[in-house]
Amino acid sequence: MAKRIEAVDLDAYYGGFRAIEGVTLTIEPKSITALIGPSGCGKSTFLRTINRMHEVLPGARVTGQLLLDDEDVYGPGVDPVGVRRAIGMVFQRPNPFPTMSIYDNVVAGLRLNGVKKKGDLDDAAEQSLRSANLWNEVKDRLGKPGAGLSGGQQQRLCIARAVAVEPQVLLMDEPCSALDPISTLAIEDLMTELKDRYTIIIVTHNMQQAARVSDRTGFFTIDGPGTPGRLVEIDETPKIFSNPSEKRTEDYITGRFG
């Protein structure tokens, strides 16, 4: 099910401001790709262009091509809703739906997309919660509100919710930045497990995390305030962290940046 992602000369704008410029990269299926870089360098913006979440903001638009297994996500006649169904997303802060129970949160994507059979929903809920390593913790209180879980549990609930609709790609926007080290570890383990089935792209500020979990790492940066972010290089993670081709990458990962 996992699909390949290819960006070709992608630009993203907020109104008149160009946030990222000329991003060209390829992400192989069933791999974890980490995107690192200083704040404001456009890595989150790039992530949000992949599932067309960027354009949700007023005035935001994208030019260039973004191919999901050779199909342009920005091609004519493509429905953003369909794109988002194929490309799931986990956000920086856990955001379970506050009016819903744990169970309802997990099956929200399915139920609101028309799946009604209780058996199907029950199976999907158990399977998703199991793959998010949350089943054992919540199986006895599925009817309780999702907002009552701890931060780490909420984030895993959001991951379960995202995988319940069986996307082909999973985008994670700093999924551990609001979590403690133990919850972070749980989510990193989870990513490694999910890699067998999904293409995962994670934005992170934590370079150890990028080094721990990812197969490939991409480095974004900006030349200065008001200039667009660019992809400096993307390569195998060990190479980026030991012997990057670009001086700027080396400066950033060794802490000499800025």
Binding site: N51, M53, V56, P58, V81, G82, V83, R84, R85, A86, G88, M89, F91, R93, N95, P96, F97, P98, T99, M100, S101, Y103, D104, A108, G109, L112, N113, L142, G143, K144, P145, C158, R161, A162, V165
Partner: protein
């Protein structure tokens, strides 16, 4: 307090001491009022409160230090202000109950004012209760859907000039005096289109008043729903309209219901627009679509205008009934939203 080595411990004023200060303050005031020409309960309370505040602060300053003394002073001040704010509420309620109790009987809730003169005993407000309930129901049925849709448009879809224009006109509508709304329906619907006085016409006039309140309060509540929830829903491939219907509105529901109830309470108490559009009637008219109707505030207005005790008593009971109607509606709404919420959480 002495020159002993600095310590983290400090004296505290025991609760008993505070109670004693309060008792002393009250005693001193009562004595003062007995011995001097000072008189009156409000004055007594005011003087006692002032003495208590001063004494407690002075005592606390000696024993606990100045920061704690200030804390006690402000705490006491705020508590007194709270009690003061409750006085109008309870005096209005208490007085209405006291005055309304005289005619709070079966006859009031089963009879109308048909062939009951100002001086006649008996008679009731059944016709007015029917009128109020029907008119407010019509108003709510018209205003809530339209108001909610407008609020959803402004918050979720509206961009640029159209949304700003709508918001501006809603603000203008909020400022319309109720009698102008009544005059508008009178000249447009009743005289212009020759529709005649009716409860429905009153509903139209009340809608003009209710609509902007619903729009504004719902708009504020929808804005409070975090964007992260909308994004979470979009990211699951849920279309925008379904996101609004199933995620945003349920999240904002308790606040929206509160806004609706405030709006209902407001229009339920309107007199002038009802007078101009439903005209008022002494007998029971079950149909809101034909013929004049009365309503509770209108009945209060007309009965209280007669300088006869029988009529004034009926006015008080009608006022009491009005408060009860609003209260019952409020409780019902709370109960309904609470149940729907628990139901959603409990579904498995």
């Amino acid at each position: 307090m002495t020159t002993a080595a600095p310590t983290l411990r400090r004296g505290t004023l025991p609760l008993l001491a505070v109670a004693a200060v309060a008792a002393c303050a009250l005693l001193v005031t009562v004595l003062l009022f007995a011995l001097t020409p000072l008189a009156g309960v409000p004055g007594l309370v005011l003087v006692a409160a002032t003495i208590f505040l001063a004494a407690q602060t002075a005592l606390a300053r000696r024993i606990e230090g100045s920061r704690r003394a200030k804390d006690r002073f402000v705490t006491a001040l705020v508590s007194l202000a709270f009690l003061l704010a409750l006085v109008p509420l309870f005096s209005v309620l208490g007085y209405t109950v006291q005055e309304g109790a005289a005619r709070f009987d079966v006859e009031f809730f089963t009879r109308s004012l048909r062939s009951i003169g100002a001086r006649d005993a008996g008679g009731g407000g059944y016709h007015a209760i029917i009128g109020t309930v029907e008119q407010v129901a019509i108003t709510t049925l018209m205003s809530v859907p339209i108001g909610l849709l407008v609020a959803v448009y402004i918050v979720e879809y509206g961009r640029g000039r159209l949304a700003a224009t709508i918001r501006f006109f809603v603000d203008v509508m909020t400022g319309i005096p109720s009698i102008v709304a009544g005059l508008f329906v009178l000249s447009f619907w009743i005289l212009g289109l020759r529709q005649g006085f009716s409860g429905f016409a009153a509903g139209l006039a009340l809608s003009v008043l209710m609509l902007p309140i619903i729009v504004r309060s719902s708009e504020e509540m929808l804005k409070l729903v975090p964007d992260s929830l909308r994004e979470a829903s979009f990211a699951l491939g849920i279309p925008r309209w379904k996101t609004i219907l199933r995620i945003v509105l349920p999240t904002a529901l308790p606040g929206i219901v509160t806004g609706i109830m405030l709006a209902v309470a407001r229009v339920t108490g309107e007199t002038a627009p009802v007078l101009l559009t439903a005209f008022g009637a002494a007998s029971i008219n079950n149909s809101p679509f034909s013929g004049p109707q009365s309503s509770l505030p209108l009945m209060v207005f007309q009965q209280a205008g007669d300088a006869q005790e029988t009529a004034v008593n009926r006015a008080w009971t009608a006022a009491l009934t009005l408060i009860l109607v609003v209260m019952v509606l409020n409780l019902l709404a709370r109960l309904l939203t609470r149940r729907s919420r628990i139901g959603r959480q409990g579904s498995r």
